[in-house]
């Protein structure tokens, strides 16, 4: 009982802290849409780095990732390092820096807006936003399901799923609506630092108890079930699987609205440069301890019942209750840090790329700010209500979201770097790859794997081919602005 009280106090304490940070940020917030979505493009290195980091990696790093390492071995560290530390960092420059320059020059706030302007098409703008929301909504719902379930498990049912998920939803709405991007970024920074510190303390604590890394690894090697974990590769971690996963998720991350939008929010070129160089180090610092704990738990014979997560259990076995509670509270907070950013981005995609172009073109800036806040509340509430029914289709979509977003990446890259791309080309490429990938999920006749390569990766290739082919045989529409991604960029 004492543990439950302690855990609840820590979580409620965190929620109040997040709200307080939100209120401080609120005092600096202007009433414009750009400030609400992008903190007026002023984020500094630490805040940008940690907000992207916390937004991206949170819940997975604490729960699903260690679970995979526990079941299949620690090679997952390599997959994460490649996808997030290297591929995403390169895209940070190739897509992110270019988008940042374009945002500075033309005031873009969303990906759809940027593409719609270049291709002279509000339909393309709406299409990109609609596809993004289609993948984003179920993903937000999954976060709420995760948070509600974890809270229920943590308190032994004292807080029901509905109450837990509902409480978190209300708090998120409060501070996102109040403080927008600035509030989200600041709370994320707190969380990112908190996650790093607690993960390392947890690792050192467990190692001190079991007698160091050599002892933990020897335990792994001595059990016949896990002896294979130490050798690189397995029937699960095949080269095709490692590459498919790292490439689709790495590219998918760059197209996730809440990550992509951060490309517009950096305060300066220096901020982008520093974040870019620090990125691989940050990934290693978080993934190695968290996934090693998962893998070592297998050798230490920590039993994980069906549906439970390994990290809380190994902490329970080797560290005091208060510390385990602290880490789990951190993980809950981490789920929120992903959701709050997604709510904000989802709302901006909706108001800017769907509402404004198709419903009310004369929307004023301050009215848009108001509408965006309403959008956050509606989006969050709708995802919460959906999470109560837990529809299977939404679960499938949420789990496939990274690969779904990855389908957008290559057409967008072509748009940014290839002058011959046409509106027809990019539209066809986006529709074809999305259609193919959806079919691989829901149509039995379309397989999900091709000689070990995932449908997500094959779909990306298909999108690339079709964008190029259709662009080559069509001519640009009259209102396309073919030069705006190239001329006068970065003129200091």
């Amino acid at each position: 009982m004492r543990a439950v009280t302690l855990q609840l106090s820590i979580i409620v304490g965190y929620l109040l802290l997040a709200l307080a940070v939100g209120l401080v940020a609120y005092r600096l917030t202007e009433r414009t849409a750009e400030d609400f979505y992008l903190a007026s493009r002023t984020l500094g290195t630490v805040v940008l780095l940690f907000t992207t980091f916390a937004t991206l990696l949170s819940a997975f790093t604490f729960f699903a990732g260690p679970n995979i390492a526990y079941a299949q071995g620690p090679e997952w560290i390599l997959v994460m390092g490649l996808m997030d530390g290297i591929i995403f960092a390169i895209l940070w420059y190739v897509i992110g820096y270019k988008q940042w320059l374009l945002g500075q020059q033309y005031g873009y706030v969303t990906l759809g807006e940027m593409l719609g302007d270049r291709f002279g098409s509000r339909w393309l703008r709406g299409l990109v936003a609609a596809i993004s929301l289609l993948w984003l909504f179920p993903y937000v719902m999954l976060q709420q399901v995760g948070a509600g379930t974890a809270l229920e498990a943590l308190t032994d049912g004292a807080v029901s799923y509905e109450l837990g998920a509902g409480l978190i939803t209300v708090f998120m709405i409060l501070y996102v609506v109040a403080a927008g991007m600035r509030g989200v970024a600041w709370t994320d920074t707190l969380q990112g630092a908190f996650m790093l510190v607690t993960t390392w303390v947890a690792l050192l604590w467990v190692l001190a108890t079991v007698g160091g890394p050599s002892a933990a690894t020897a335990a792994l090697a001595s059990s016949s079930d896990t002896a294979e974990f130490l050798s690189l590769g397995s029937s699960y971690y095949t080269p095709q699987w490692i590459l498919s996963t790292a490439i689709t998720i790495g590219f998918g991350v760059a197209m996730f609205p809440q990550v992509n939008q951060r490309f517009f929010a950096a305060g300066s070129k220096t901020v982008l440069k520093r974040s870019f160089a620090l990125w691989p180090i940050l990934c290693v610092l978080l993934f190695v301890p968290s996934f090693l704990l998962g893998a070592w738990a297998a050798g230490l014979e920590v039993a994980v019942p069906e549906g439970a997560n390994v990290l809380p259990l190994i902490l329970d076995a080797y560290t005091p209750t208060w510390f385990a509670a602290l880490v789990i509270a951190g993980a809950m907070a981490a789920m929120m840090s992903s959701s709050d950013s997604m709510l904000l981005s989802g709302s901006s995609y909706f108001t800017r790329d769907l509402y404004r172009p198709f419903v009310d073109r004369s929307l004023s800036d301050s009215r848009e700010g108001l509408l965006a806040r309403g959008g956050v509340a509606i989006f969050a509430t709708a995802a919460f209500v959906a999470s109560l029914f837990q529809p299977a289709t939404l679960f499938d979509l949420g789990n496939a979201a990274f690969s779904g977003f990855a389908q957008l990446a290559l057409p967008v890259l072509l748009a940014l770097y290839w002058r011959k791309i046409t509106r027809a080309g990019i539209t066809a490429g986006i529709l074809a790859s999305q259609g193919f990938y959806m079919a691989s999920l829901f149509v039995a006749a379309v397989p999900g794997s091709y000689a070990g390569w995932s449908a997500g990766l094959v779909g990306m290739g298909l999108g690339l081919l079709i964008t190029v082919a259709v662009s080559l045989v069509t001519s640009p529409a009259a209102d396309e602005q073919r030069a705006i991604y190239f001329d006068g960029l970065g003129a200091d």
């Binding site: 560290i77 690189l232 290693v284």
Partner: protein
């Protein structure tokens, strides 16, 4: 010159990504100081990547993206949005 430099950086990026997973250690289970050798390689490689990214940020940031005046067509910054021009060298391959 500009184009060569871009090619070098693209090659560096491909090598960095390509060896993040030490394929040459496939199947190896050698343990050094409590961790598999392939994991040490990965940790060291990510450190190296960070250094390379830092050098890139200091020396070549903007390559392939920013308009430059050093490749022969000097009026690069004059043309405003909406005016088309000759394709220029540069641009990262996707």
């Amino acid at each position: 010159m500009h184009r060569n430099e871009l090619g070098v950086w693209i090659a560096v990026a491909v090598v960095l990504a390509g060896l993040t997973v030490p394929w040459f250690l496939w199947g190896s289970a050698t343990v050094v100081a409590g961790l598999p050798v392939w994991l040490w390689w990965h940790v060291g490689w990510m450190g190296l990547a960070s250094v390379v990214f830092w050098v890139f940020a200091q020396r070549a940031w903007g390559i392939g993206i920013e308009s430059t005046d050093d490749d022969g067509s000097s009026e690069r910054r004059v043309g405003g949005p909406g005016r088309t021009r000759e394709p220029r060298t540069g641009g990262d391959s996707p």
